[in-house]
């Protein structure tokens, strides 16, 4: 019982950190860079992607014995496009302001490689429960990455967080951070930071294990 529980938790947790779609696998970069100029946009985009990811993974997993092998990619794309159309209309009804800020990028969720990648690599081979857990993990990991970028870019580029002023009136915003180059710089900086952390922890393990081996 407990191993089964651990296993399903592992399916969920690997998307959060170890196989984070953005920071580790470098998938779905276009929306990450384009809509992460403020926290609210990043959150809306992350949740929209999460919804499409979970629903399409569930459907693909349920239909995995019905879909013929030869036309599977086309079928997945149609399933994904259907859910994206639902999100597109729903978001328009919920908050027109956010919808206009995100622009075409809501509809471009269709070609987000994470979703098709999970459908092909995981949902088409596993049952619906695992597929939902996997999709949830990946979706939350994607949202986390978007928030990491959105937070830094809004803080530096606008001096605010979620629209609330943080640094007071004397702060000169780094306008470049909310412009396109800022997206590249911040994502690059995060990747460098993670690479440095990883290198450090590897060096520590070697130092710790070194004497025993020698």
């Amino acid at each position: 019982m407990s191993t089964a529980h651990n296993e399903s938790f592992d399916i969920f947790a690997k998307g959060l950190w170890r196989e984070n779609p953005v920071f580790v696998m470098l998938l779905g970069m276009c929306p990450v860079l384009a809509v992460s100029n403020s926290v609210i946009n990043a959150l809306a985009m992350g949740l929209a992607t999460l919804f499409v990811l979970v629903s399409s993974s569930t459907l693909v997993s349920l239909l995995r014995h019905v879909i013929p092998k030869q036309v599977r990619i086309a079928t997945y794309i149609v399933i994904i496009a259907t859910f994206v159309t639902i999100v597109d209309y729903a978001l328009q009804a919920i908050s027109l302001e956010v919808y206009l800020a995100l622009g075409a990028f809501i509809q471009l969720i269709v070609v987000n490689c994470i979703i098709l990648g999970r459908a092909e690599a995981f949902a088409s081979k596993n049952g619906p429960v695992q597929a939902i857990l996997d999709a949830l993990g990946m979706g939350v990991g994607f949202t986390f990455a978007l928030l990491c970028l959105g937070g830094v870019r809004e803080l530096l580029g606008n001096g605010s967080l979620l629209g609330v002023d943080v640094f007071g009136p004397h702060f000169e915003p780094w306008a470049v951070m909310i412009l396109p180059p800022g997206g590249f710089f911040v994502l690059g900086a995060w990747l460098l930071l993670f690479a440095a952390l990883k290198a450090r922890s590897e060096r520590r393990t070697i130092e710790k294990d070194g004497p025993h081996v020698g």
Binding site: L26, C30, I77, V78, P181, F184, G188, A189, L192, A195
Partner: protein
């Protein structure tokens, strides 16, 4: 130059609002295929061709859907058109130029999930371009994509020869370089809309 003249639309899509560096479309191939100059330029040409075909198809389909009052099917139709356009290009190339077909290899089917293509189809619909403007827009976007890819591959070929710190090897450094390149293209901002 007025805002909707063909040459302005071309320049706007190619340089001022470069698809890769200003609107963040097609980042995946931009980071993945820009390692070598030759693959980068071939990939650019293939994308440009698919863009042209799918942009013309998307224009016709949009007119048809508007006439039938079924705009909600737009997204599904576009993605189906792009997938078939890629398939078509694949078959034509295989028949008439097997050498180029082999050289492009896996990149050709991957163009289907390149968001620059769907983005182009969606943007031209939002902007309400007519047929000729769509063609100019597709050509501009395609050459802009090729331009960004070729410049980037040149930079990365140079970078590969230099000694960089261990942690900066790989995606982190590539993104920093892309940021500087994007900063350079920001110089054109304000020329257009």
């Amino acid at each position: 130059m007025s805002d909707d003249s063909l040459s302005f639309i071309f320049l706007n899509a190619c340089i001022i609002n470069n698809f890769v560096l200003s609107t963040f479309l097609g980042i995946c191939p931009f980071l993945g295929v820009s390692g070598k100059y030759e693959t980068a330029s071939r990939m650019g040409l293939a994308v440009m061709f698919v863009m042209l075909v799918s942009s013309m198809c998307a224009y016709v389909i949009n007119a048809l859907l508007l006439a039938l009052g079924m705009e909600y099917l737009r997204l599904i139709c576009y993605i189906a058109v792009i997938a078939s356009a890629v398939q078509l290009v694949e078959m034509v190339l295989k028949k008439f130029s097997p050498a180029l077909f082999r050289a492009l290899g896996i990149f050709l089917p991957l163009i289907t999930t390149n968001c620059a293509i769907l983005g182009l189809a969606l943007f031209q619909t939002f902007k309400g371009y007519n047929f000729l403007q769509c063609v100019a827009y597709a050509l501009g976007a395609g050459s802009g994509f090729t331009l960004a890819l070729v410049i980037m591959s040149g930079l990365r070929e140079q970078l590969a020869l230099h000694d960089v710190p261990g942690i900066a090897k790989g995606a982190g450094l590539t993104l920093m370089v892309a940021g500087i390149l994007s900063l350079a293209f920001m110089g054109f901002a304000g020329l257009g809309t």
